[in-house]
């Protein structure tokens, strides 16, 4: 069906069912996408005041905590495109530590987001990786928007920055950050080590309820991820782009089997970790909302995506730094050595194409739809990401040309 053939601003029940039938994917993802479409014809996002959000928080904590507590120092945080974030300080009586003052964050969906993702999944991943990686500790979860206007997660505030203070590069969402040579040297080994820890994590023992487990040795994982991206393209777009259909055809014909099922972070890149600028220590990995069980090549392809890195300067001009941290030539060799997991370049090629496809889906289709309907707190930022589209389409075209 063409972009103009369907009223995507007011999707019908038949259209929703058709999307489910044509593009089966993980159950949690399916439920989120259905919820997104069913709510689409609803009102635009209305900016919520700090006091309103604090009142939601107070109502939730009154039910969850025994004893008195006090919320103070509420403040907005920017950073990230897709979620509303409010910081606050909680004074309360922790049963284990006694009277405590904790700095926390509320992370809540807008009415419709650039990514229809699950706070339950995010909380499960953060809990699973507590003690394995630097991650914020989960404090509370409002999975069904019982207290907040939308599903929300409350977790520990972590001090740190996503890019050097005064960095001249690095856009709003932390893409293409230039850390400079000194920080690069400190951050790069941790960055690689953390990726390896995610991919070698023993997920069989983890109590995940919001993640489906694909079978190793099959193309199931690749198909779920492809179907998710194709479905969102069909659900959100206002434009037709023949190259996207070529990419979909090619991916359908070239689904790779997953050799080892791993936890996949889904957005492992600069901009999504906080670090201490003085010591260069990575303090927390954020944005687990796209995490899933699947093929590590999805992360490897994502992390090495052209948008997220940059070329060196001066004599170093010919070196491309993955996420601004590790020369591309070294990245895969160091990963293989540290993880003991091979890098399959055919699988990598597939996921590079899928990732480009997915970024085009988000930046051309979803960003347009959400901004058009005024559904988020960042509509102007979503309108702006159209500027990423030609860069990623150019990369997609080049990747297809190499493989066809």
């Amino acid at each position: 069906m063409t972009a103009a053939a369907v009223d995507r601003d007011r999707p019908s029940a038949a259209f929703i069912e058709e999307m489910r039938r044509r593009f089966p994917t993980e159950r949690e993802t399916d439920a989120l996408l259905v919820r997104k479409l069913r709510r689409r014809a609803g009102p635009p996002y209305r900016r919520i005041a700090k006091d309103e959000l604090a009142a939601c928080l107070e109502a939730m904590l009154a039910e969850r905590l025994d004893g008195p507590f006090e919320i103070s120092d509420t403040r907005w945080f920017t950073g990230g495109v897709s979620k509303i974030q409010l910081g606050f300080t909680l004074a309360w009586d922790d049963p284990e530590r006694g009277p405590s003052r904790d700095r926390l964050m509320v992370r809540m969906d807008p009415s419709e987001s650039l990514n229809a993702t699950s706070r339950v999944r995010e909380a499960e991943l953060l809990r699973a990786f507590h003690g394995v990686l630097p991650v914020p500790g989960v404090f509370a979860l409002d999975a069904d928007a019982r207290w907040f206007p939308e599903p929300a997660l409350v977790y520990a505030f972590v001090d740190g920055v996503t890019k050097p203070t005064g960095a001249t590069s690095g856009k709003v969402s932390g893409l293409g950050t230039n850390f400079g040579p000194a920080l690069r040297e400190r951050l790069a080994p941790q960055f690689l080590d953390h990726l390896v820890r995610i991919h070698t994590f023993d997920h069989e023992e983890a109590a995940f309820t919001a993640l489906d487990r694909p079978r190793a040795g099959t193309t199931e994982s690749a198909l779920w991820q492809l179907n998710r991206a194709r479905r969102v393209w069909e659900e959100d777009r206002a434009d037709d782009l023949p190259l996207m259909e070529v990419a979909a055809n090619w991916m359908e014909r070239n689904l790779p089997a997953t050799d080892v099922v791993s936890v996949v972070h889904g957005d492992f890149r600069s901009g999504n970790f906080l670090f201490d600028e003085a010591t260069g220590e990575i303090r927390a990995w954020l944005d687990w909302e796209r995490a899933h069980l699947g093929d590590r090549h999805r992360d490897l392809a994502w992390t090495t995506q052209a948008l997220f890195g940059h070329y060196g300067e001066g004599a170093d001009r010919g070196t491309y730094y993955v996420c601004g941290l590790i020369p591309r030539d070294e990245f895969f060799a160091r990963y293989e050595e540290a993880s003991g997991l091979p890098v399959d370049h055919d699988a990598l090629a597939f996921y590079r194409i899928l990732n480009c496809y997915q970024i085009v889906v988000s930046t051309l289709a979803t960003a347009y739809r959400v901004a058009r309907l005024g559904k988020s707190h960042q509509d102007i930022l979503l309108a702006r990401v159209k500027g990423e589209v030609p860069i990623v389409v150019g990369e997609l075209r080049q990747l297809l040309k190499e493989r066809m």
Binding site: T78, K171, L243, Q378, P390
Partner: protein, 186 residues
């Protein structure tokens, strides 16, 4: 000579937002400050592109028309709307009075018809030789629009190689002339 009042008005809007609104924002509202800068940047982009909107839509239409012409005749069942979109595209392009909207609609109709064709050829029972030929043409031809769009959005700062991108006026002129002459731009 008529003055450009749209350009002038957008400049005034940018100045008001920068000089008057920005300093009055609540210091405790980083989202408002960040979004104001994004608004200013976007207005600035639009201000630098208003004179080029018509050229852009013509190049986009020419691009899809050239892609369809390179593909040539295909079974109607695979692309029921392609022949009609080509006719409308040619007629719109030949009409010097056609404004931005009809140009955009004609380009969009061609993009939709071509997408429909590629999708149909992805079916397991489709002709593999035709599919390979069509897919190769689409991939090969897509660079024209990529280069136009890279130049168009360059001021937003996403391009990892900005020094490799020519001024948008030059890219549009080059692409328009090349497509009109039936050759690849560049």
């Amino acid at each position: 000579m008529n003055a450009d009042h749209v350009h002038n008005g957008l400049g005034a809007a940018i100045k008001a937002l920068t000089d008057v609104v920005a300093p009055s924002l609540d210091a405790d509202d980083p989202l408002a400050r960040e979004q104001l800068q994004l608004v200013v940047d976007y207005l600035d982009l639009v201000r630098s592109r208003t004179d080029l909107l018509w050229d852009r839509e013509r190049v986009t239409l020419r691009h899809y028309l050239a892609m369809a012409e390179a593909i040539g005749e295909v079974p109607e069942a695979a692309a029921p709307s392609l022949a009609g979109a080509v006719v409308t595209g040619r007629r719109t392009l030949a009409d010097p009075e056609a404004g931005v909207r009809p140009l955009r609609d004609a380009g969009g109709a061609l993009a939709a018809a071509l997408s429909e064709l590629v999708r149909a050829l992805g079916a397991p029972d489709a002709d593999p030789a035709l599919r390979a030929r069509v897919e190769a043409i689409v991939v090969d031809a897509s660079d024209t629009l990529v280069e136009v769009e890279r130049a168009w959005y360059l001021p937003l700062g996403f391009d990892p190689e900005p020094e490799a991108v020519a001024p948008v006026e030059d890219v549009l002129a080059d692409a328009g002339a090349a497509l009109a002459a039936g050759r690849r731009p560049g």
